[in-house]
């Protein structure tokens, strides 16, 4: 479901293709509902070892994140800190992961590559960036840690089941047409770095 409130775009799970089609690269939005964490080892398990993602991820969101979580005495969890990790590390697996799980929104840090962009286009999925290094702003948006799976992978790598409210700001980095914002920005940075190289070397002489 997509809502527009106080100038904010808020997407709530379950996420539909319509929700996804309304977002374009560079747009800012917020997420409410079910968000699962999963990074390197989880992708490897799902894609290379053929294991099923431990919970249903269809029409939900995935967060490339390794949080700090405290286990309370009664066995429930408390979120201390959570923020995005470099999404590019998951590039090798992500297109197959999207296909297998039906995930609709991927949240991480920085951009992802051409294979993921192609999968986003094919399956109407988007990638987005959460504010990096702002793990308390992110943690504040987590209402509850509803459970955990694959905890044997260690705290950063386990799958944490989060319930979030207006989690963000999130910036769309790959949209459902496969446009890749980060790659576009990166080629601008490269171009400018070539200009600067020439100028700086000249200045130094």
């Amino acid at each position: 479901m997509t809502e527009h409130r106080d100038g904010r775009i808020i997407i709530t799970t379950p996420i539909t293709d319509e929700d996804i089609k309304g977002l374009r690269t560079g747009d800012t939005f917020y997420l409410s509902g079910e968000l699962m964490t999963g990074r390197d080892d989880v992708h490897e398990r799902v894609v290379e070892e053929g294991m099923a993602f431990p919970v249903d991820l269809n029409a939900k969101a995935l967060f490339h994140a390794g949080p700090i979580i405290k286990t309370k005495e009664n066995g429930t969890y408390e979120i201390i800190s959570i923020g995005p990790t470099t999404s590019m590390r998951m590039e090798r697996f992500e297109s197959a992961f999207i296909e297998k799980t039906g995930v609709k929104i991927i949240i991480g840090k920085g951009g992802m590559g051409a294979d993921t962009a192609a999968a986003c286009r094919m399956h109407k999925t988007i990638c987005s960036a959460a504010p990096a290094g702002c793990s308390l702003v992110c943690a504040k948006c987590v209402e509850e840690v509803e459970g955990a799976s694959w905890t044997e992978l260690g705290m950063p790598e386990a799958v944490w089941h989060l319930k979030v409210k207006e989690f963000g700001p999130l910036i769309v980095t790959i949209d459902s047409e496969g446009r890749n914002y980060f790659e576009e920005l990166k080629s601008d940075y490269k171009l400018r770095s070539e200009e600067q190289k020439l100028r700086l070397i000249k200045e130094l002489k």
């Binding site: 700090i68 990096a132 793990s135």
Partner: protein, 299 residues
């Protein structure tokens, strides 16, 4: 003081310090961020700075780590040869990491290589990293602590060039790395450049450069000129906070150099993210302490 007393006092100070370090940025970094925020003209970049400052406030208010990646703990020690707790220091450093991991809490990040096992307490397999320097005839000790995150350690690089490449070669060496990895390393960045005779001296110098204050200058005018040009040029790349564009890219560029061999020119670059958790702690012979980077740290 008995040895046991000394060790427990020292361990306690260090554990508290690491805890503090994970939650508060050093003054040079927070003022650099403030300056960049004020100079920023792009609206969404300004909004990102607001979010970053909000995060810093929350860290202090909630007493929690600024970033979930609390890194691998690295220490650079300048210890007086006559420092009364010199014998206890190595063990205290490791114990302090263990305690801070529990208390801050820090995220367990220490994965034993090849065994692929997370030790759970941020120690083991040579971690925490400790670089020692013994200073003759002194009774005090200076400890620089740094939480080396994964995203900012990732872009590091060192290479041995031929001297004929000249010091100019530092420019493309650094710029290429920044263009490729900078947007992902949580900018605005602090860039550390190292120059030396071999791959590890250059690399160590680049890390030492990150341990220097963001607004410090190399004392050699030629090296200082390279710092200045790199800072200017990288800012013009417009990477912005979070890598999504803006009017600057770096909090500073520091270069540290040592002598080279006539036949080599080794260069290295290390990256620090905006959340550059680095601090300096002075301890005197009676274990009184103060931290010039974190004046808010006291008993």
């Amino acid at each position: 003081m008995t040895e046991i007393e000394k060790k427990s006092i020292l361990t306690n100070i260090l554990a508290q310090y690491l805890n503090h370090l994970s939650k508060h940025l050093p003054e040079d970094i927070s003022s650099a961020l403030l300056r960049l925020k004020e100079q920023e003209s792009d609206d969404s970049a300004r909004a990102f700075y607001e979010t970053m400052f909000r995060n810093m406030e929350l860290a202090a208010e909630l007493d929690r780590p600024l970033c979930q990646d609390t890194g691998i703990v690295q220490f650079k020690i300048k210890c007086g040869a006559l420092f009364p707790a010199i014998n206890e220091l190595a063990d205290s450093l490791t114990d302090a990491v263990r305690i801070a991991t529990e208390e801050a809490p820090l995220r367990p990040n220490c994965v034993l290589s090849f065994e692929e096992k997370n030790t759970g307490d941020n120690t083991g397999g040579g971690v925490p990293t400790v670089w020692w320097e013994i200073v003759p005839n002194r009774y005090d000790c200076e400890i620089t602590a740094y939480l080396a995150g994964g995203g900012s350690s990732m872009p590091g690089r060192a290479e041995v060039l031929m001297p004929s490449a000249g010091y100019d070669a530092i420019i493309p060496f650094v710029l290429d790395r920044v263009a490729e990895y900078g947007p992902n390393a949580c900018p605005p960045l602090l860039i550390g450049v190292g120059v030396g005779n071999s791959v590890e001296t250059a690399a160590m110098n680049s890390k030492n450069a990150l341990l220097r204050d963001a607004d410090s200058k190399n004392s050699n005018p030629k090296a200082a000129r390279i710092e200045e040009l790199l800072e200017e040029g990288i800012n013009k790349m417009g990477i912005g906070p979070q890598g999504l564009g803006g009017s600057s890219s770096v909090m500073g560029v520091n270069l540290v150099n040592t002598a080279r061999h006539p036949a080599t020119l080794a260069v290295a670059v290390s990256f620090g993210c905006w959340c550059h958790r680095r601090g300096r702690l002075h301890l005197d012979r009676n274990l009184n302490f103060e931290s010039p980077t974190h004046p808010g740290f006291s008993k």
